[in-house]
Structures are given as C-alpha cells and as structure tokens.
C-alpha cells in the first residue's frame, strides 16, 4: 500500500473540486485531487457525434459499472437506474452540462420563513422538511459575482443594485454589476418563445449561460453549433471547469490530479479528526493519502456513500453523522413539458446552445401569488429541444408524437420528417420540496465495479404539493404554446416518480448541529477538518439549475478556508 502525505485531499474534481484546487493551491496549500474518470482535452470533443455523447452518454458514469439504484418507497425493491445524469471526468458535470448559470432568488435562501410570512405555516405540507439556508443571498452575492467573472457567464442583468433594467430577468436578486459578457443570441425558438410570452404579459429573456458570447480570457466565442448539452465543447467556449479552473490549479504548482482513482474510505482517528483518504488506483492498487484537510466534492451520491462507508466505533451510523441526517432530504428537478409544432414555418431548434435557451421567471419561486392554490414554490420556464439536446436521435426517442399518431410506422415517419425542424419544447423545471424520507443509503444487494455497495435512492416526487404544481405548470405551458401561434400543441407524459435532473441533499447544511450535517461553510459539525461542498449541502433546491450556486459556495468555502481556517484550524462557526 502506497502512502502519500499532503495538506489537502479533494475527492472529486468537478464544479467544486476544480475551484477549491485552484484557490487553495494559490494560497500555498499542497493539494491532491482524486478523480474517478479521465482528464480530457478540448481536442477530444471535436467529434460532433450525437450517438456517442447524447445517446451513449460517454461523458457520464457507466450505469452498469457504477450502478445507482432507485425505489419509489421503502416497501419496494430498488432497481438500477438506466441513465446516470452527472459527470464522470475531470471537470465533472460542467464538461457536458448545458451551462445554465443562475443566481438563486433572495427567497430561495429562506423558503420556509418567506412562505410562513406570506401564507402562514399551514401552507407548508406537514411532511416536508422545508427550511431556510444558514446563509443569505447577500452573503453569497460577492461569490456569485466572482464565479461569473472568473468562469465567464453570458447574460443580461435584470436587477442592477436594486434598479430594474428593461431587459434580463426582472425577478432576479440584485447584482452588483452587469454580466461579464452580453447575452447569447436567440435562435428562432427563442424568438417564438419571446413573442408568446410577451403576448401574455410575461417577461422572457435569453437564459444566462456559462458559454462565451464573445472571446474572453483567451478563449473563443460560441459558434452556435448546437452540440452543447451532453457534449464537451469543441471550441472551449463552454466555461467548464476543465478549461477554466484546472489550468489555474496547474499553474500554482501545488496541485496534483490523480485520474482513474476511486476513493473508498475517509480515514479518521479516535480524536475525532479525519486523517486522509484511501483509494483504489487505476491499476487496482490500494493506496492512502494522509492529509490535514479532507474535502468531499463528488456528486451527491458519493458524498453520502463515502461517509456511510467510513463509519467507525465513534461514528457507527456513518462518519460525521451524529445528527442522523446523513442521506436525507434528497431532492431533484422534475420537468413538465409541452411540445409546439408549426405547419407554416421552420424553427431549426438544432441551432445554438441547446439547453433551456430562453426563459421566463414569472412562475418561479414565489414570484407569483400562491394564495388560493394548493401548492407552494414554482418553476423556471424555458424553450428547449426534446431532451435539452437537438439532434434527431434525441427527438425520435424523447419527443412523444401528438395524440392520434403512433410511435412507429408510416404515420410516425411522416410526423418526424415534417416536424423535426419545425418543433420546440416548452418546459418547466420545478422546485420540489425536501422530504426527510427521500433518502440516499447503501444498496444491500447491488455492488459496483469496485465491490462497493451502490448508492440507493428512495424517492417519489408525486406528493400532493408537487402534483398540483405540475398540473398548474402544464396549463401555463399550453397557454404559452397556443400564444406562440403553433398549429399543434400537446403534452408530454410526466412519467414515473423517479428523480429527474440536478440532485440535491444528503449532507444538508444548517445552523443546528442536531438537524444538519455541515455548517454554512460546508464544514462538518462533528469533524472540523472535514468539508463537504456541493449541492448535497443544499437545504432546498430552487427552480433554477444548481451549478452557479454550487460554484459560488465553492468560492465561499475556499475563502473561509484560506482566510480563516488555514490560520486557525477549527470550527468556523
């Protein structure tokens, strides 16, 4: 067994790990990053290949070698999920993501207090663990700003220091300055969405994305090829961690990246501190890194799984789990979707960055009055191709034909032939509430390629609050569809109760060590030299894509580690 010593070991070098590696390395800390997948380069992405990257999911974990199982409730048997929607390489999910880069609303950070103030406590479902964050939007704003400028985000401000602008999202929280880059150009689907939304009095805008609308920091601007969500960017115009923070981390001289490695245990001693991480090398070897500071920065499944696998006599229910909260409050976005198709024009939705191209925020968070409704919180609405990716394989598999047209045969062929370049999807991405019985634990029956128990999800989004909201949103999407002038408007089925995209929870942050796993900096309440950073710490999820908030939290934690913890290692709050 090889043993190596360092100041900091980071498990998972994605949206969070890349930022921590660069920032801690700059502060003179010696950092080793453990990454399960490979480190790819921009040249690796020159193949604009829908089969390879979208359909066969080459940039995501292999669902057979690294299974994750799901069951709707504790009484049913868990089965492996067919598709795993997260990253599996250096840069993590930021390599293949659609690059939506939102700041959460002010009330997203205090959803519980805000709901009680406006509607009373009875508006919150009795079984929901809805709560406030242990930090505010104002706390995080400087770090949102830093992430947008260091990474490169294109957009248009809607709220500059409290002053509403004519463009952008009028519902956004106040920002200190404009985006570093102007908004991306709309394609025809954006033009259609804008016209429909304005007709109904809503406020559409080009979605803010970490995709360069112009050259920036030595990288070229977007060429609108459309091979975006699911793909690595062949121009390096997508501001993935791979082309932004990893080169910075390299330049510090203090960062070592170990690819093809699988962390299997966080080691700890009887004094209540962690001592490092053990991992399997690419050659199957068994190795240990001894470190003063351990940072878990994997996708949410493995943050929870690693802690459960690292239990000790002192922590018999999982490392850093004296609260008993580890693995609880799993959340995921669910999509409501309506298709529109035109007989009198083309849309050519395969042009331009593919995911959630144009948006409106009128029905997100508490931006609309829920009085008299049977649900709280909302969804971000946008226009997008069938599965956030716009090639014909995606359309043929993920666009249900309208009622009366079968899924195969001559009529289906004619439907696809006529409408592939004439359709758009209007979608809602819902903010689902946290529930304590939606969990991640270890599957007792299924093991991965390393012989480790697979993460098991117990989750079903079909709660009364969520079902009522989906129906409300489908009606809004249909209304938008009719306003678009499309000759054909039809719904997509909402499917099973399985979790959708953007998972959150499992290592919840909070103000009370009895009710949360980590504090506002991602620092374990139980073990001060252990940090867990990422969407696994989100107390609630918002209707927005999580990545920019994950990155802002990474900057916020890096700042606390470099400026406070490094001088005086111990509890930060």
């Amino acid at each position: 067994m090889a043993i190596e010593k360092t100041d900091v070991v980071i498990v998972g070098v994605g949206a969070v790990g890349g930022i921590l590696a660069a920032e801690l390395g700059k502060a003179g800390m010696k950092v080793i990053g453990l990454e399960r997948g490979p480190r790819l380069t921009t040249q690796d992405f020159s193949a604009l290949d829908e089969l390879r990257y979208f359909q066969r999911q080459e940039l995501r974990p292999n669902a057979k070698r690294q299974p994750v199982t799901w069951r709707p409730n504790a009484k049913s048997n868990a089965k492996p999920l067919p598709i795993l929607n997260y990253g599996n390489q250096a840069g993590g999910g930021t390599v293949h993501y659609g690059a939506l880069s939102w700041r959460f609303h002010e009330d997203d950070f205090r959803a519980r207090s805000h709901t009680i103030e406006r509607y009373g406590a009875s508006a919150i479902p009795a079984d929901s663990s809805l709560t406030d964050w242990p930090l505010t939007y104002a706390d995080l704003e400087p770090f949102y700003d830093r992430a947008e400028y260091e990474l490169g985000v294109s957009g248009k401000a809607g709220n500059l220091q409290g002053r509403k602008t004519d463009a952008g999202n009028p519902f956004e929280a106040p920002r200190r300055r404009e985006y570093p880059l102007p908004a991306l150009l709309p394609d025809q689907s954006g033009v259609i969405f804008t016209a429909a939304a304005q007709k109904l009095g809503y406020h559409p805008f080009s979605s803010p994305r970490a995709i360069l609308s112009q050259p920036y920091n030595g990288r070229a601007g977007c060429t609108y090829c459309g091979f975006c969500q699911s793909f690595g960017c062949h121009m390096a115009a997508k501001s993935s961690i791979l082309v932004t923070k990893l080169p910075e981390a390299d330049a510090t001289g203090n960062f070592k990246l170990l690819t093809g490695t699988m962390a299997y245990r966080v080691n700890s001693d009887n004094s209540g501190r962690v001592t490092g991480v053990s991992y399997y090398g690419a050659d199957g070897s068994d190795n240990t890194i001894e470190a003063d500071l351990v940072i878990l920065a994997t996708f949410i499944y493995d943050n929870t799984r690693l802690l459960l696998l690292s239990k000790t006599a002192k922590f018999p229910n999982g490392l850093a789990n004296s609260s008993g909260q580890l693995g609880e409050h799993l959340m995921a976005h669910i999509g409501a979707r309506v298709f529109v198709a035109f007989d009198d024009r083309y849309v050519n939705i395969y042009m331009g960055p593919s995911a959630q191209k144009h948006s409106l925020d009128d029905f997100n968070a508490d931006n609309f009055d829920h009085a008299g409704m049977t649900f709280i919180r909302g969804a971000q609405l946008s226009v997008t191709p069938a599965d956030l990716e716009a090639g014909p394989i995606g359309a043929s598999i993920n666009m249900n034909p309208p009622p009366g047209i079968p899924r195969w045969g001559a009529a289906y062929r004619d439907f696809l032939a006529k409408y592939f370049a004439r359709y758009a999807a209007f979608i809602a991405q819902t903010e689902n509430l946290p529930y304590a019985d939606q969990t991640i634990d270890l599957d007792p029956h299924v093991r991965d390629q390393y012989g480790m128990p697979a993460p098991r999800l117990t989750y079903d989004w079909r709660r009364p609050n969520e079902v009522a909201r989906i129906e409300f949103l489908l009606n809004k999407l249909e209304e938008l569809g009719r306003a678009s002038g499309a000759q054909h408007v039809w719904r997509s089925p909402t499917g099973s109760g399985a979790p959708g995209a953007h998972h959150e929870g499992g290592t919840r942050m909070g103000t009370d060590p009895k009710l949360s796993v980590v504090n506002r900096y991602g620092q374990s309440w139980d073990i001060p030299n252990l940090f867990i950073i990422g969407s696994s710490t989100f107390p609630t999820m918002s209707g927005f894509n999580p990545t920019l908030t994950i990155q802002a939290l990474a900057y916020w934690s890096a700042d606390a580690i470099v400026n406070r913890y490094k001088k005086n290692p111990g509890a930060l709050v």
């Binding site: 829908e50 359909q55 609108y224 090829c225 050519n348 062929r413 592939f420 370049a421």
Partner: protein
C-alpha cells in the same frame, strides 16, 4: 413462385444488402437471396443455414432477416422517404451488437427466439413470412405487452430496444454503419455535424440550406487537412 414467395424473396434481398455492408466484401445480395429461397423449406423447419454465404458481424441469417423486417415496419421506406432498409439499420444494429452493445447479444437472441415462437404459435409462420399488416399486428402486441410467451426480455422491453436501435441506425452518423448517404438526416432535414451557425442562420425561418450535410468522416478529413497545412506553413 407465388406472390408470397416473391415478396419474401425481395424482402430477403433487402435484408441482405444491409448484412452485405457489414461483411464489406464478397457478398452478392442476389446470390444470398437465391440461396435462402432454395432453403426456404429448411428455414420454415428451423434448419441451419448454408455455411458458404458470408454474413454480418453478429446476427445469423434468420435473425438478420427478422430484424430487417421488424425495423422496416417501424420506419418504413416509401418513394422519396428513406426507411430502415434504405438507411442500413440492420447493418447498424449488427455492428453495434458485435461491439458497443455486446452486452445485449443475449437480449436480442432471446427476444428474437420469443418473437419467433409467438409468431409460429399465433400465425403458424415466422415473422418474416407474415404480410406487413400481420407484422404490424405482432409489433403492436409486443408494444402493448399483449404478446404471450415472453419472459426475458418482456415483449415491451424487446419492442422498445429495437425501436431505439432502429432510430439510432436511422439517425446516427454514417460512421456507425447506418444512416447511409445521410438518408436519415435528409428525411428529417438535419444538416449533421455543422461546426457553426451564423447570426443570419439563426434568423432563418426556412429550412437550412447554406451548407451541405456533414458527417464525422468529412469533419475528420477537414481537420487532418488543416493540421497538415498548418505544419507545412
């Protein structure tokens, strides 16, 4: 030769075109179809195939003919409208099962065996010998889970995988063995691997015609050329 036989013969010929592209050399579709015709009585009895004929990378003759027929009913060709046969879906699936989808070999073997048993039990004939309308009945029964006798894969599972792979064969880049001459992309109006769209393209309300359809091989060629010229400059 009865009308039924001639239908079947021309069908097998088409199936063989797909399989022939897999073999890459030596296969004469007519010879293949004639050989199959000569052995049609054996085929009905489930006897083994002549060994002198080359075939694809994974399927045996009966399997190839069945998948060709099945996928053609899912995406039928018509004048001016490319279908599964025209685009080489059989070739795509055959190659995929020999490579990227090797873990699905038994899924297909068992799915096809169950399909065969179901057709013989219900119609006293294998799938490929049924009239197209009957084939559609069978596929509908599979899709709706009403076909008896399936255990693993279940009938809907088998239907869904063949449908998915048929779409992949229609619309994946031709480098994978289907979408012959971009016929699948032409069918739906997809311009392929375009590296950029201009601001003018983004404003276009008509079908996109500025550039020719591009695939991976052309793209790779352009990149290699750029590299070579870059070195010589």
């Amino acid at each position: 030769m009865s009308k039924h036989d001639s239908t079947r013969r021309s069908f097998l010929k088409r199936a063989a075109v797909g399989a022939g592209a897999v073999a890459g050399s030596g296969l004469v579709p007519d010879v293949y179809a004639q050989a199959l015709d000569q052995h049609k009585d054996d085929a009905a009895a489930g006897a083994s195939r002549p060994t002198s004929i080359q075939h694809g990378a994974f399927f045996n003759y009966e399997q190839a003919a069945t998948i060709a027929a099945f996928s053609e009913r899912l995406m039928p060709g018509a004048p001016g409208k490319a279908g599964a046969r025209d685009t080489g879906v059989l070739n795509y699936i055959d190659l995929a099962l020999a490579g990227a989808y090797a873990d699905l070999q038994d899924f297909y073997r068992r799915g096809l065996a169950q399909l065969d048993a179901y057709c013989r039990a219900t119609y006293k004939q294998p799938f490929v010998q049924l009239e197209p309308a009957r084939q559609d009945e069978v596929i509908t029964a599979l899709e709706q889970g009403k076909a008896a006798g399936f255990s693993w894969p279940t009938a809907p599972e088998f239907f869904n995988v063949v449908r998915t792979h048929t779409m992949e064969g229609m619309f994946a880049d031709p480098i994978y063995g289907g979408n012959r001459d971009f016929a699948g992309w032409r069918l739906v109006g997809f311009p392929g691997a375009q590296g950029n769209f201009t601001a003018t393209d983004l404003q276009n309300k008509q079908t996109f015609t500025r550039a020719p359809i591009t695939g991976l091989q052309a793209q790779a060629g352009l990149q290699a050329q750029a590299k070579v010229s870059g070195r010589t400059e």
